[in-house]
């Protein structure tokens, strides 16, 4: 469906992206994950035809976009990171205009507008000027504007930036609906939890290069541990974390104040031994929990840096 092959883009001496390749199939949601400045927006801009790559190619249903007016562009709907709406016009006027850009007219426009407004839950606000909308409503209308011509591929460039949790949830529900309808979504974000919730596959990009491209499960396999046990201790007197590392199944140990985080491959085999060892050594505990490592940990493992610190 969408295939990106070794695309490269430089601005002067600065390399924005370098040999980025990945693909997204029909109905697949691919997350393009990376910190700010990693090259996500440049990649999306090249796919949308806003920028020409220095090398490499973008194929949409095995076709390259050859010109500004190439009909292949009809397959794509772009949701820019910045709000792309006319504040002084009503929601319906905005959508009428964007529909016309894709040569929709007459009854098709009305149907498309009604359907997209209904999808994003703004039917009752169709006649209101956009300037009167909340940030979350504008984001939803921004999404609707990209759906009018019923594109197969939807490019979403950080579509939830600056919205409240409720609106973010509403946008996720919209996207899940689209996913169910078989749309191919390319979702760029630097929020791990968004990628984890929505994406079938995640492409991690850093410094303009793809450093991982796999399903969530596949990415977890890159990690040295599959489970983390968090143990909150009553006291840490005399505790030597290095000794815990010698216990069977234990792969990593980290002590933060009175919380001990222990990475293990097999939870059922590793956890009892650790708890017994703590009791035997006089370090009583009052709470134990376990979790799988998140994408943040994956990014940390792959780059050596925390995603939000970069």
């Amino acid at each position: 469906m969408l295939e990106i092959k070794r695309i490269t883009k430089t601005y002067g001496k600065l390399s924005a992206i370098n040999g980025v390749s990945f693909r997204a199939d029909y109905g697949e949601t691919v997350g393009l994950l990376g910190p700010n400045g990693a090259g996500k927006t440049t990649t999306v801009s090249i796919i949308a035809g806003l920028l020409k790559p220095d090398s490499g190619e973008v194929l949409i249903e095995n076709k390259r976009v050859k010109s500004d007016t190439d009909p292949v562009k009809l397959k794509i709907g772009l949701v820019p990171q910045d709000m792309a709406l006319f504040e002084k016009l009503s929601a319906r006027d905005n959508l009428t205009f964007f529909a016309a850009l894709y040569a929709l007219s007459g009854a098709r426009v009305r149907e498309a507008i009604n359907e997209t407004l209904s999808l994003v839950g703004l039917s009752d606000r169709a006649g209101d000027k956009v300037e009167a909308f909340s940030g979350g409503m504008k984001r939803r209308l921004n999404l609707a504007a990209a759906l009018l011509h019923d594109p197969q591929i939807l490019l979403l460039d950080e579509p939830t930036v600056g919205v409240d949790p409720q609106s973010r949830n509403a946008i996720f529900e919209n996207l899940e609906t689209l996913k169910k309808r078989g749309k191919t979504l390319l979702y760029t974000t630097h929020y791990m939890e968004e990628a984890e919730r929505l994406c079938d596959r995640i492409v991690i990009i850093d410094h303009g290069e793809v450093i991982a491209n796999d399903t969530l499960q596949g990415l977890h396999k890159l990690l040295p541990v599959t489970n983390v046990i968090a143990i909150e201790l009553d006291n840490v007197d005399g505790l030597t974390p290095e000794k815990i590392l010698n216990l069977p199944e234990v792969k990593s140990v980290q002590l933060e104040q009175n919380t001990l985080r222990i990475g293990v491959h097999d939870l059922s085999r590793g956890a009892p031994g650790v708890l017994r060892w703590l009791t035997d050594n006089g370090n009583s505990y009052y709470r134990v929990s376990s979790d799988q490592p998140d994408l943040e940990t994956v990014f940390l493992t792959l780059t050596g840096r925390s995603l939000r610190d970069t």
Binding site: S45, A48, G49, L50, L51, S67, D68, T69, D70, P71, K73, L74, I76, L78, P80, Q81, D82, M83, A84, L85, F86, K88, L89, D93, T96, F97, F98, A100, L101, Y102, A103, L104, S105, N142, A145, A146
Partner: protein, 433 residues
Amino acid sequence: MMIQFLALVRKDLKLFFTDRRAVVVGLLVPILCGSFFGYLFGGQKGTTETSKVPVLVIDQDESDISRALITQLSSDKNLDVKPSTLDAARDVVRKGKATAAVIIPKDFGRDAGQAFFRRARKPELDLFYDPSHALELAMVKGILSGAVMQTVSKEMFTGKSGRKLVSESLAQLDEIDMAPQDRTALRDLLNGVKKWNEQREISETLAQGEFSGGLTLPYETREQAITSGRNVEYNGYAHSFGGMGVQFILFMGLDVGIALLMLRQSGLWQRLRAAPLSRTMLLGSRAVSAALIAGFILLVLFGFARIVFGVHIQGSFLGFLGVCAAFSLMTAAFGLLIAALGETVEATRGYSIMATIIMVMLGGAWVPTFFFPMWLQKFTVIIPTRWAIDGLDGMTWRGLGFSSALAPIGVLLLFTILFGALAIVRFRWKAEG
């Protein structure tokens, strides 16, 4: 293609007309400025009164001649003459409340009379003037010369002091150092004047009927404004509304350019570029919508000028529409050029305002180009606004035919092509931000 093009144009028009306050201000300001400048530059002839030049007169002579001179000056329709004193006059002129003050010195009448027929010391008329009114000073001096000549000559030929002076001059004639033949001629002249005066005393009525005004200019001018027709008066509002229309439409073009620069930094630009639209369509639609708005503003301005100030399209209406359309297109292309050459919004706004003001100024929008020095009048033909204003003048108050509109239309369209081509070549298509 057409659906997309029309949608782009319609959107621009909708955005323009949605902001009603901006529309009202955008029309009101040029109307106010046009009305003001039109009034200053003559307004509707016949309905406005030309302001008189304020002049003070200090009469230190208090002779028949000085009193007659003041009466003569006061009767001039271009002057507002008031008596004053030396100190007060100096103060009033310094404050700019009077353009000039004429000081008639003591013995002016006697000395002027003597200097009229023979080589005697000429009396001096002091003139205080406001240096910021140099043009008016020239007019005052001209009127003063005529009035002095008429008053003194009248007194010499018909007045009592004139008769006395003629007799005195005849008595002193032999003492004057001059060639014998000149002396003889002057004696004959003075005797002739004396004889004339004696005869006039016998027949007062004859003298009044045939020679009562002294020496005057031997001609009178008959002024006729050459406008579109014999009975059509010049209407200053026609020029001022054309000039102000051109100015504010250029500013509108500047806004179009700045808005395009800002658009390029927004998500909207990404969305437009992601759609299957050609670059020509994106810029072309912008140019067409800007030209339509410019045309609308021009038509509203001239509509207002017609209703309120009686400005008529005395020449070719088609030519008028052609000049309006060509100038509107030129403005739109100018806006695109600003967007193409601009780096940042702030810097672009600064230099494009400067460029606009220069074009407006040199085009004759503020002051008609005939006030310019000749070299500047020749130079300004390279300024597109000059052609627009000349074209509008030609089609309005000058009442010229369509053929006279062809040159302005042609030149404006050439500028449109030049600006448009430069804009397309230099436009940075990459989204910014």
